[in-house]
């Protein structure tokens, strides 16, 4: 039997402080390679915290997270960073494109940390931009792009390293319906090539495109079918 890409067991995340916040409570979740999972929930329900843990950006307070069969808590920080660089792509709601760099430089940035040479980085970034229909915008500053173009640029940046897991936080959140459909089309295309996609969304259309939709409330995950 093939091991799932992600296996969360009794996983909890608590933010310490004067008033500790239990962001994730005893989550059990298994996500297979190539699966498309949508996670829905209200603001403050723990969606983004769950995405951060799955993306190895933070460690859980308790419980277990296995990524490709490796226990994340037992990995060194360098190993976790390496996994992020090679295996995980992020699509942030806030884009996080650097305005002082061109779009192609933004897209190429992740490859720098994988040791790819400058010329190859830019060449691959141009290909990635071409794949999302932004080849002509390569030398533009992100500030010169529309919201939809920026989001497609972010998807190109996430996919350039051919990750096995794509994590998307509200990828259509600030987009009009037409642009949202374009972005959704890009994600669907990626699923077709075997990439596992986990999407946090409020958008029912995005959730409907997923194999599975999970609901999270007060840090507790509830399968909805």
């Amino acid at each position: 039997m093939r091991e799932p890409l992600l296996q969360l067991s009794d996983l909890s995340v608590t933010y310490s402080g004067a008033h500790p916040v239990h962001a994730i409570r005893n989550v059990d979740l298994s996500i297979e390679q190539g699966e498309h999972v949508a996670i829905m929930g209200r603001s403050g329900s723990g969606k983004t915290s769950l995405l951060s843990v799955i993306g190895l950006l933070r460690t859980q307070t308790s419980g277990s997270l296995r990524f490709k069969g490796r226990e994340a808590n037992e990995l060194s920080e360098r190993a976790r960073t390496g996994l992020r660089a090679r295996e995980i792509g992020f699509v942030f709601q806030a884009f996080h494109l650097l305005p002082e760099r061109t779009l192609v430089e933004n897209v190429a940035m992740g490859l720098f940390y994988r040791g790819v040479r400058t010329r190859d980085r830019l060449s691959l970034a141009e290909e990635a931009l071409d794949a999302v229909g932004l080849a002509e915008r390569a030398e533009f500053s992100p500030t010169q792009l529309s919201g939809g173009e920026q989001q497609r640029g972010v998807i190109a940046r996430a996919l350039i390293g051919e990750p096995s897991l794509l994590l998307c936080d509200e990828p259509t959140g600030d987009l009009d319906s037409h642009t949202a459909a374009e972005v959704l089309s890009l994600l669907t295309r990626q699923i077709a090539v075997g990439t596992t996609v986990v999407v946090i969304t409020h958008d029912p259309l995005v959730a409907a495109a997923a194999d599975r939709t999970l609901r999270i409330a007060d840090g507790v995950l509830q399968p909805t079918g």
Binding site: E77, T81, H96
Partner: protein, 389 residues
């Protein structure tokens, strides 16, 4: 380094301002260093000036009642000492035997007279005598024992000597002498400025050796040779009786020069430290602000695979790059300041050739040190928190 360079170029205004802090510090350092070196060179040049390169040797009365003047053979032997540039003799006549007057008639005589000194053309050259008016005497005057006189400027003023174009005459004893020149400056022989200087041969020819009250050799040495020449003069001037010669050697400038150089060096160190600290604090402060402003960027880089070390290295590379840039600009500006100041004071600009590359290296090091704390801060940025901003 490529990412650091791209980051620096991406914010040219901020980068320029950040580098400016280091540039000012390095410029101050180079300027202080250059001006100090230039001033030091001037001091050194002054030390090597003729005032401190003249040895005098006086004939003393230790073996008889009369003072023996220095002859041509004595002068020749002294001139053959290694390090000697010029040698001349001064022979002073006793005042009572050779009164100096403007007129033989007592009621018309002006001034209080002057010391009569016999000299050679070489003497005037050795003491760097400057003739303000008229001319100095030459070998012909000596050979012919001409009755010509060069008056020291103080003596001429005291005796109210008419302008030289009127060919004024003064009397030494009862003998008329034509005034051919006015001596207004010497290198350390101020007694000549109030004297009547005549050819040495004229002095001994007219009055004989009996009137001689003092005899001196004036020896100009080559730069740096004074302390070597001094001890050899007595034996060379009077081989059979060196005790009869009292030699005066100017103090060795080395110790004084070292003391002054030491003072300048201390001043330099203090000013350089202040300049560097100013640059370091400036670049460190702006780099830290930059890191704090770019927290989401560093969070993004961490999410894309940057390690903590890579984040720190990027900050250090950026600050070192800016420091190096500041070093280049500041070093160049410092050289311009040194040159401008030196030319303004008509000094020769003196700056060690290693100063400019050292300034660039110092700029880079200042940037590196200044970037240490911001680099630690950058490396400790939590990507999860940073991306939520």
């Amino acid at each position: 380094m490529a990412e650091a360079l791209a980051a620096v170029l991406a914010r040219p205004g901020r980068s320029a301002l950040t580098a400016l802090g280091t540039a000012l510090g390095v410029a101050t350092l180079v300027a202080v260093l250059g001006i100090t070196q230039t001033a030091s060179a001037q001091v050194s040049q002054a030390f090597d000036d003729v005032d401190l390169r003249v040895v005098s040797a006086e004939s003393t009365r230790n073996d008889g009642p009369a003072i023996e003047p220095f002859g041509a053979a004595d002068i020749e032997r002294v001139a053959s000492i290694d390090g000697v540039a010029k040698v001349g003799s001064l022979t002073a006549a006793a005042g009572a035997s050779t009164p100096v007057r403007t007129s033989l008639r007592a009621e018309e005589a002006a001034g209080d007279g002057a010391q009569v000194i016999g000299a050679t053309p070489e003497t005037l050259a050795a003491v760097h005598g400057h003739i303000a008016e008229g001319r100095a005497f030459d070998g012909g005057h000596l050979q012919r024992k001409d009755r010509v006189v060069i008056l020291g400027v103080a003596a001429a003023r005291r005796m109210a000597t008419p302008p030289l174009r009127l060919q004024p005459t003064i009397f030494i004893g009862d003998t008329p002498f034509t005034v051919i020149g006015i001596l207004d400056r010497t290198a350390g022989f101020s007694d000549l400025l109030s004297a009547a200087v005549i050819p040495a041969t004229t002095l001994t020819g007219l009055w004989g050796a009996d009137v001689i009250a003092g005899a001196r050799l004036v020896i100009e040495t080559k730069p740096g040779a004074t302390q070597v020449v001094g001890p050899q003069v007595a034996a060379a001037a009077r081989p059979t009786n060196p005790e009869a010669v009292q030699v005066s050697t100017p103090p060795a400038p080395k110790a004084l020069r070292q003391a002054i150089d030491g003072e300048l060096s201390s001043l330099l160190v203090v000013l350089a430290m202040v300049a560097l600290v100013v640059g370091l604090v400036g670049i460190g402060n702006i780099t830290l602000v930059s890191v704090m402003e770019r927290v989401p960027e560093f969070g993004l880089r961490r999410s894309l695979g940057a390690t903590r070390t890579q984040s720190a290295i990027q900050v250090l590379a950026e600050s070192s790059l800016l420091g190096t840039l500041g070093g280049i600009v500041g070093g160049s500006a410092g050289v311009i300041v040194v040159t401008t100041v030196a030319l303004g004071r008509q000094w020769t600009p003196t700056l060690d050739v290693s100063v400019l590359p050292t300034a660039v290296i110092i700029g880079g090091l200042v940037g590196l040190i200044a970037g240490l704390y911001p680099a630690i801060r950058a490396s400790s940025i939590d990507p999860d928190e940073a991306l939520r901003r």
